[in-house]
Symmetry: C2
C-alpha cells in the first residue's frame, strides 16, 4: 500500500472535516513553506536483509529514497534484472537514487561501475577509488555525464578519512567529481561536520546522515538524536547552503535489528526539519 | 544496562577527546539550556506486552517514564508485588510516575484507586470517574493529597470527549483535580489541542502525546510527525506554559508491533525539542 498517498489523502480529508466543523478554529497550521530536504536510506543499513525486507522497513518508516548497494543489485546485473529491481522498488514507493558505495581498485572496476550506473539509470555513483585512478574516473565522468562522489571513512581509512582529504584529491578534477559526505566518520576523525558541510558544499552530492558517540576512533554510530553532532545546527546549515541532494541514514548500530534505531533517527530528522519549517520528502 | 549513563559517559569521553584533538575546532555545541520536557510512555501503548517486553522497548528507546496500567500491576497488588514491580522498573532505569487510566463507576472503585495509588507511591491518578462521583473524588484528593487527572476520549466518549467538557466538570473542585490531556482525542473531537493546552494549563497534569490523521471521529493515531497536529507549535506552547508534567506517548497504531512507530515518535519529539533548545528527560 502506498502509505504516502494514504497520508496525503488523510490530510485532504482533514481539511474538509475542518471546514465542516466550525468549532474547530485552527486549521492545519503547518507551514506552507515549500523548502524541503530529501531523506533516504544508505543501502548498507540493510546489509543483513534481503530487498523485500529492506523495502518493508522503508515503507514502515515512510522513507522513499534508497542508495543501492550491490548486495541488493549485483554489479553485473543485466537489464532485465535491473528492470525487475526498479519495479519492486516502485511497488514500495521507493526510488533508487544512486549506487554504492563501490570499492574500485583498478581501472577495470571503475569502468564496470560506470557501466553499472548507466544500466541502472542513476546519475550518481558513490565510490572509493584508488587515488591513482582519479584521472581515469574523471574521464568517465565526462564520457557518461554521471557524477562521482567519494566516501570518507574515518580515522581507519588511509585514503579518505575525512572531507578535507577527499577535497585535496578532487579539487582539480571535473566539478562532477565530489563526495558522499559521511558526517559521522568525519566527526570520528576529529573534523567538524558542520564546518565541512559549508566548506565543501559545491562538491557534496550525497550525505551519510548519522550521529556518533564521540569525536574519536572509538566513536560509534548511534541514533541521530543521541550523539555529539548538533543535528539541528547541521540541518540549519543544509538549508543555508540549499543542499538539494539526499540525506541518507546509515545506521551502523543494531545492524541485525535496525528498524527501531532507523525509525527513531528518521523521526528525529523530521522533527528538526519541521521545526525549522522544512518539509521532508 | 543503563544506556542513559552509558550515553552520558560517552559524552564525557567525547569532551576529553575534544581537548586532545586540537584540529577539532568545534566542541559539542549543544545548548547549555537547562529547560527540559519529560517524555514517557502511556502504559496502554503496551497493552499486548508483558512488563519485561515493555521495559525492553523503553530501554531500546531510552525513555524512562511509564504511566502504569493495571495489566502490568493489578489494582489489588499487595506491597510485596508493588516493591518487586518498582525494582523491575528500576533495573531498566524506568520510573512509574502515575497510575491509570482507571475507569471508576462507583465510589468503591474510587476508594480502591486512591488506596492503590498510595500503595504504589505515586501522587497522580489518571481516571475516568462517573460525574456523580466527583464530589467523592474531591474528598479523596484532599484526604490522600494525590492529584487526579481525568482523561478525555474523543467523540465516542459521552462523558469526557474533550478538555472543555472535563474543565466544566472539575472547575469548582480542588485544584488538584485536573486532566490527562489526550491531544489526539481532543483533535478528533474537532477541538484545537494547542489552544486548549494553553487554556487549561493550570489543570493539565499529564498529556497523552500523539498525533491523528484527521480532525474527526474517523481520525486515528499515527506517528507523531505524520498527523495534522502541528507538534512543533504544541511543543513551543508546552515551553511557554512551563509544563512540568510528563508527555507520554500513547501509540494506538500497530499495537501488536508498536516499537517502530513509538521510536519514530520519540525521535520526532526529541528532534522538535532539541531544535527549540529544550532537552528531553
Amino acid at each position: 500500500m502506498n502509505t504516502r498517498r494514504k497520508f496525503l489523502k488523510s490530510g485532504v480529508i482533514a481539511g474538509i472535516a475542518g471546514l465542516t466543523l466550525p468549532k474547530f478554529s485552527r486549521a492545519d497550521l503547518k507551514s506552507n513553506n515549500t523548502r524541503e530536504l530529501k531523506l533516504g536510506i544508505a543501502g548498507y543499513s540493510f546489509v543483513n536483509f534481503n530487498l523485500p525486507d529492506s523495502l518493508a522497513m522503508m515503507q514502515r518508516m515512510n522513507v522513499r529514497y534508497l542508495c543501492i548497494k550491490d548486495f541488493h543489485l549485483p554489479l553485473d546485473s543485466d537489464q532485465s534484472t535491473i528492470q525487475s529491481f526498479h519495479h519492486t522498488l516502485q511497488k514500495s514507493n521507493v526510488k533508487g537514487y544512486a549506487v554504492g558505495p563501490i570499492y574500485m581498485k583498478t581501472e577495470q572496476e571503475v569502468s564496470q561501475a560506470f557501466e553499472y550506473a548507466k544500466r541502472v539509470g542513476v546519475d550518481l555513483i558513490i565510490g572509493i577509488p584508488s587515488p591513482e585512478s582519479l584521472e581515469y574516473v574523471d574521464q568517465h565522468i565526462k564520457k557518461y555525464n554521471i557524477r562521482y562522489a567519494i566516501h570518507n571513512h574515518g580515522p581507519e581509512d588511509k585514503l579518505y578519512p575525512n572531507a578535507s582529504t577527499i577535497y585535496k584529491h578532487i579539487k582539480s578534477f571535473d566539478e562532477r567529481m565530489g563526495m558522499c559526505f559521511d558526517m559521522g566518520h568525519n566527526m570520528r576523525d576529529g573534523e567538524d561536520p558542520i564546518r565541512d558541510l559549508e566548506r565543501y558544499k559545491h562538491r557534496i552530492f550525497d550525505i551519510h546522515l548519522k550521529n556518533v558517540t564521540s569525536a574519536s576512533a572509538e566513536g560509534t554510530t548511534c541514533e541521530l538524536g543521541r550523539g555529539i553532532i548538533d543535528i539541528p545546527l547541521f540541518v540549519r546549515t543544509l538549508d543555508k547552503i540549499k543542499y538539494n541532494g539526499v540525506c541518507s541514514l546509515e545506521f551502523e548500530k543494531d545492524m541485525k535489528d535496525p528498524l527501531a534505531g532507523l525509525a527513531e533517527s528518521k523521526g528525529y530528522f523530521q522533527g528538526v526539519c519541521n521545526t525549522l519549517n522544512l518539509k521532508v520528502d
